[in-house]
Amino acid sequence: MIINQKVSDILKAKFPGVVIPSEEQHNDYIQIYPEKWNEIAKFIKTESELKFDSCQCITGVDLGIEEGLEVRYNFHSMKLKHKIEIRIAVERKKPSIPSVEQVWRGADWLEREVYDMYGIRFKGHRDLRRMLLPDDWKGWPLRKDYKTPKIYNGMKVPKVRKGWD
């Protein structure tokens, strides 16, 4: 909790208007706007009081049909031994967010996976291809409005056997 407050205060001082204030008292995350994300990423990696040098996880979340998508970052500091979660909301129509692939190299494949499953484009990513699914796959399978394809390359996808369950 304390580290969240601290990071949030430092960010508010450095980048005014970037942290979205939240009503909840005990958030264990920080919600920010996506515009300056790349600069913020560089900042929280190098700032002497934060030093988030390890990007542990990047997750995509679909909050529902009415709401948009969200990207959640988990950072850890090997030096100062604290961690933080940062959430960035993106719209559903044309989801796009600055890439942090060149800040933390480990974010490369994580961002590709989020792109693969949710179709969120990471601007500035140098090699944004699908990670797990085949290259000719259509659609973003972990979105709520995804429809399972009937056929893929001549192979039937829906269940074919009756009475097996």
Partner: protein, 162 residues
Amino acid sequence: MGFLEDRFDDNIITAKLDQILSWARSTSAWYFQFGLACCAIEMMATAASRHDLERIGMMPRSSPRQADVMIVAGTVTLKMATRVIKLYDQMADPKYVISMGSCANSGGPYSRQGYHVLKGVDQIIPVDVYVPGCPPRPESLIEGLLKLQDKIRKERPLTKKK
């Protein structure tokens, strides 16, 4: 064996060439070292020293060109399914397929919602023996392999089909 029987010493066996061929094939069915998911772990355990597949003449080959049996061990995703077809086509005749585990049989736990899983490998390649289980224990796999051996032994490759 009619008039040939009992005319030689005890160490000479007479049989039809057909039978010898299918017997030889059944007891040296080399399988393709090809694991897709957790079933592959059980397949490795089957091949390892405790269960020892080589005692029934089965030995892993790393190339489809040298293999007779393909053990589809694990979940066949749609991405992999295209490769499975390719590998099956590269195997030389006679070739046999064992579908190992629920996923390869019918999609298993992915059979309802899996958007990326092929619901049964028999949709794309012909399957000889199905081994149920999730994953099957080595004993089940050996049972399936012995079933396959029985099947091969009953074949008559040189006899003309009517």
